[in-house]
Symmetry: C2
Subunit: 159 residues, 2 copies
């Protein structure tokens, strides 16, 4: 399979000094096609509107749509591979996710993230919980997903 | 690949008349192994603690752990295939998800769900938004994920 992801965009993140409120990140892109939608759905969300173009016509989605969990998974891939260079990884404690619009075959996904809050750990210096708000857009700038995630991460210490 | 999922459990759901507060559902089970964890991670969450047992030792997780998004995806599979028999599918508008504990190789996942709220649609009779709270447990009854999802679904009409 051709790798559907393309290179990362420029970062405003200053190395590995930890997250701070106001930092913004732009990921690379990920091109989604019908086969990828069906493959994911067969494993994790086997419903007609995710599995078959014809069967999908008579459903809520009126056509093939990706599982919301696939949109979430692709968002994670983009953030991990090109979005946020955290030395010790991106570890989620929890998240709120919404899908304002269905992800469709042919969509090219890109993630725009911003650190909206940080809470230092009391027990582990330099670490804490960062709240990251990420919008996943397609090539028409339509918002496919809004994710507000709590990350266990290095937090920028004040100097 | 051997299908990791096994049959569904008994349902308390009374057919296809729509969701109502207090209904409970128990899914079948899904056995997760290291290969599945790595395969998902390579596609969607390529970080050392999801990809390689040895590299994972020196990380936050101190051993191989599944991506939280894989736990979410498996939960969806269990709910779709054995959890809730909704005639027109299970369509999520959004969700809150948390991962109190890492999902590990060898875990056998099962989902326990309850309808905690319903809000009828004004424009589409018989439909509405149902709030479903689902706990994903492993074979030791440890809680791996708590998911509170808003579903676009048929709502039981009062009689």
């Amino acid at each position: 399979m051709t790798d559907p992801a393309s290179g990362s965009s420029a970062q405003t993140y200053p190395g590995s000094k930890g997250l701070a409120v106001g930092q913004k990140f732009v990921s690379g892109t990920y091109a989604l096609d019908a086969e990828q939608i069906k493959t994911f759905a067969a494993l994790y969300d086997p419903q007609p509107f995710h599995l078959d173009e014809v069967a999908a016509q008579d459903t809520f989605f009126a056509g093939l749509a990706a599982s919301g969990w696939q949109t979430a998974a692709i968002t994670m891939r983009l953030v991990v591979t090109s979005g946020i260079p955290l030395r010790d990884g991106i570890i989620g404690a929890g998240a709120e996710v919404s899908w304002p619009q269905a992800t469709r075959p042919g969509d090219v996904l890109q993630v725009f993230s911003e650190v909206v809050a940080v809470k230092p750990s009391r027990s582990r210096p330099g670490w804490g919980i960062a709240t990251l708000r990420s919008e996943t857009l397609n090539q028409r700038r339509e918002v496919l997903q809004i994710l507000v995630a709590k990350l266990v991460a290095e937090i920028a210490t004040e100097v």
